[in-house]
Subunit: 361 residues, 4 copies
């Protein structure tokens, strides 16, 4: 099985369900099949900036319980771009060389980065600059990486958002209210669209399709005209108010702000339609669940294959899920293929076919 | 089995899980055992104000599927006190006589009211004024009725809040954050206390016990000193800021406001402790779940016995759960025994025994 | 939107989660978009055999609550092949013409059949014989239809089986036992393979790959040698005992037999390895859950597109899920492409990569 | 806070959900509040038989993750009565003195035993013989300890059984079947009764109340006469066949036998009523779940108070839950108060009030 290697793994960007399952799979494959060493790097690239680098040995024993654990035992961050690293004084400097040094200080032969498009772009730049051997695993609850049908964390996030909709239906109906659920989705509306269809929403607002408050209120009126006394609205956090994005985004930029687009809609609908409205901002519970079986299978398949790519020396590649198979693609291509919701998507047609208001097409 | 009767049932106040199970049980017992008629009154007392009164016949068939359904098919409201009923012009008038008339127009021999202390006080006043035959079933997610160990809806609400805490733990740990979860609890802290213990919270703030931001931040520092990089805080919506209740309550008075005490804490902790904080306001999902088995058993036992009380002519009584049995008590006594969290409660001691910060005792 | 039509829908074969969501979607699309009539046919083709045919009108109102309901309100059966229909005397006759008559008596312009490969083959034969306009939607918890990546019911079944594994892990570890879980899978091992990976099984036995009790016991010994005192085994009900299929299958042919392959394994392992074993036969709970969000999305997308196929006159086609899109394929091709677990499948490699015993390859 | 102590904790008897939460609470209270040492004893009293005794130090760190983990990290057994300990040759000898020695070799000042009535009786006999300082915490999914309203593990077991019933309803209705669910309950029918009411069963059979197959089939006929085409039956594993307990019990005495009373009923009903029947034996999944919030709260409150009892020197007592408070009672009394289902219980009346067949009263 070739030479013994020491490989590292880090998780980067927002956490999600299934990261730990991927860490476990990487460790099992590398140790169990190849007899390598596996090093878990702490808090994304921040662990490589520390001196000595912050990292722990991963073993069959310490990764065994990780299959059902949400989040990442390695920690992660969505701050600290190494090419523009913030100092305490608020200035930014390029610390990429230190990170590359950290990789070498750990004696790594290769590194697996688990992240979304932003994190992977940074990791790839580091890898190219430092001649590091990088393999990537895609994770993002937004599912906006075009080269893979599914990224780790998406299925669980949709499940949690759908469960919230199931619950809100009961209370909406009992109180004759319009309930608004604001879900995550920084740029893409996939969570809102999937959960909206699965949860029987009447109105789904996503950043890819414009809407008007008039349109929303007309949809609500139509529902009332058909004899139903309540409605359920799902909105992605990245959706703007009518006048453009004047509304502070809920989870933008490391802030913790409530009262974003969900609140805006609740107020606007209440004012225009006289309906009683309530808003729920689902927030971080979407990231933190026990991974769904599908996310566990995906993370495990990705983890095993990522290690195999290292064994083959097939660096600078990312594992993807395509037509029931794990297939590798160049990271460069993977990052380039951003996938927002396309108005021609099957699920857009499905939502429209169910009479769901999706905005002005 | 005595004379045939026609009985009514209404649900009043905020909705919760288990109301439909109670409606189903009342219907089964009344029709199946006694051969009576059952009338479901719409939207609490509002259905009795309409002319003709708004109500539907309940049958074994149309109540069969209700065991697992959240909310109430009858609808409910927490507005519209009949003794001070708001007009469109914003004035208030006493419309209690109309409601009493509505009861008679429906030809009811007795009525079962499902509600919390506020609703039951109003229903009892109506019953006394109009000589109506009233039997009560307690429901409140706040579980603040002292005469019954459990009210319908509480167990499910605690389950949902705990599940949110389970999820937040993962993401708190992954990102080294202080996560704050704001749960319901208009006056009493039972949901926060139970979910906080069940969900492994580090800090639980309830309206019954004062706290300081200093105390909260010290508790967080202590956790960090022990080597843990994250903390989880649960706060009841009714908790005030340090200076007294200047903070708008989240769900107060028919408003839909985010950014209440949870946001206040997130900001105050972030400022004083430098910790990264995030807040989640769980909101109406706490009301809307599929009822837990315990809530279904409770609602079914209450519904059956409430009908039996009518059969016995034991009016003006409420069913309660005491030491594994359903026992009836005068509604008057039931309403009088408000139960907030007592600092001597077993669960307060339990939380303190686990090292949870509960405020300044 | 063309001519008004009257279309029928029936569900056939074993029930599963998501059938009702498909019925709801078909009804919404047909009525809401096209203004057609929709007729729900009872108990698969049995409803068309009754005189008058047994069927109910489907409306927006009576299908609204179906999104989250497991099973099928139309009823279904996996008995009663119309070409060899069993009489009370145990003889078989061809009653296909009566079913075709039933279709015409209902005045149908087209019919949507929801079923697995067996049911769809029968429906297609009926359609060809009677010149009926048939469109198909694939459902099977076994997910063995090759032309579609996913069939309705599979994701939910995997979720339920995985949840059982999660639970069995705790009790296996507490009691130092080998726990065996027998899951459904009449011919194909997809449920066992997916749930086994997702649920961290140590041994997965599927009908596509032979095994030996020796191999199983060696795998258990290896686990013990590594210091773990328990093991978890998943086995598909269609797996045979070592000597070939002498073991009565658990759910075969309308019987209700416990003590199939799961029990055989428990006894054989206990005898050979001295391990304490326990077996759980998950059975029909795998069919009956609330559909997962993914199954709801799939069923809704399939339902909408199936109606569109009728609108286009594209009969004799089945909807499929391929690379994030719904695509139609001739039913003939769909039935021909049976897909068992291929030893080259990504998930077989994944399981092997995790050190799971999968039999003798 | 008095003298430093070293205390032990062991879990005994069948595992259940919440044991780990109790272990965690004991550890937190003993270390966090009193500064004591805590020793976890392996596999009930078997750990005290090993030389050196098999035990691990429990710390805040290694018990932190236990709140949501099912089962017991200490291991447990329901075999190995020390007063009649089986040798490899199948003979029995009294090894109680060795266990008492083991306690002293560990240098314990006191010991907390978590168990049901059988385990606690043995532990008490050991304590009396060896002058050990014993405090008890009640756990049993059967909830048959009369002195406490709730024992650890019961709520979770009821939840899991109810969830299975919810699922079986869908498939029963879809296929017009009589579904039989066999649940645990070695002597008492509390799980069956609670889950049966919560899950809308039509027939509940418990060991405390006799039944006839005639009675069961009449109940099914009545349901059919009312126009419903399916029925759901819950039966406790301890229920006997009509002729007395000739049927092998499913989980009796360390055996793993399927095809007990559930299968007997399925066959008998099918034969007598012509109904199509299916049986599910839920088995060990009932023990193994993530503990419900209620079980976590209960286990935590019990654990904290059990340590307090040691601090007070109040040995030979068991913690109980009575009227919202934890109260201690002498173990002797606790064991003496066995509580089966009483025909006068509220829940028996509730079930009868809902028209559920409960046997011949």
């Amino acid at each position: 099985m070739g030479q013994t290697k020491r490989i590292g793994i880090l998780t980067s960007g927002g956490d999600c369900a299934g990261l730990n399952a991927a860490i476990r799979a990487v460790t099992h494959r590398a140790i169990g099949t190849y007899g390598w060493e596996v090093i878990g790097i702490s808090r994304a690239t921040l662990g490589l900036l520390s001196r000595p680098p912050e990292a722990i040995p991963l073993t069959l024993a310490n990764t065994y319980p990780l299959l059902t654990a949400g989040g990442t035992i390695l920690g992660t961050t969505n701050k600290g771009n190494p090419f523009a690293f913030p100092s305490a004084e608020g200035e930014f400097s390029d610390r990429s060389d230190e990170i590359i040094q950290g990789y070498h200080q750990l004696g790594l032969d290769a590194m697996i980065g688990v992240g979304g498009d932003g994190s992977l772009a940074i990791l790839r730049r580091l890898a190219q600059q430092g001649n590091l051997n990088l393999v990537a695993i895609p994770k993002t609850i937004d599912n906006d990486l075009g080269s893979t049908e599914r990224s780790i964390g998406f299925d669980t996030a949709v499940n949690i958002a759908t469960e919230a909709l199931d619950r809100l239906h009961f209370t909406a109906a009992s109180h004759s209210r319009v309930m608004i659920l604001e879900v995550m989705g920084r740029d893409a509306g996939h969570i809102a669209l999937n959960a909206g269809i699965a949860g029987g929403a009447d109105i789904i607002l996503i950043p890819e399709i414009g809407y008007t408050i008039d349109g929303v209120c007309q949809a609500i009126s139509q529902i009332q005209a058909q004899g139903r006394n309540f409605a359920v609205v799902v909105v992605a956090e990245a959706v703007c108010d009518e006048g453009g994005c004047q509304v502070t985004q809920t989870h933008a930029q490391g802030q913790s702000r409530l009262g974003g687009i969900g609140q805006y809609l609740a107020d606007a609908i209440a004012q225009q339609s006289q309906a009683e409205t309530r808003v729920t901002v689902l927030g971080h519970v979407q990231r933190g669940g026990i991974p769904s079986p599908l996310d566990r299978v995906l993370a495990t398949a990705f983890g095993v294959t990522a290690v195999d790519l290292i064994a083959e020396g097939k660096y600078d590649h990312m594992v993807t899920w395509q037509k029931r198979q794990v297939v590798s693609v160049p990271i460069e291509d993977a990052i380039a293929q951003y996938r927002a919701v396309d108005p021609q998507d099957t699920l857009v047609k499905t939502a429209l076919g169910m009479g769901i208001y999706l905005g002005e097409q």
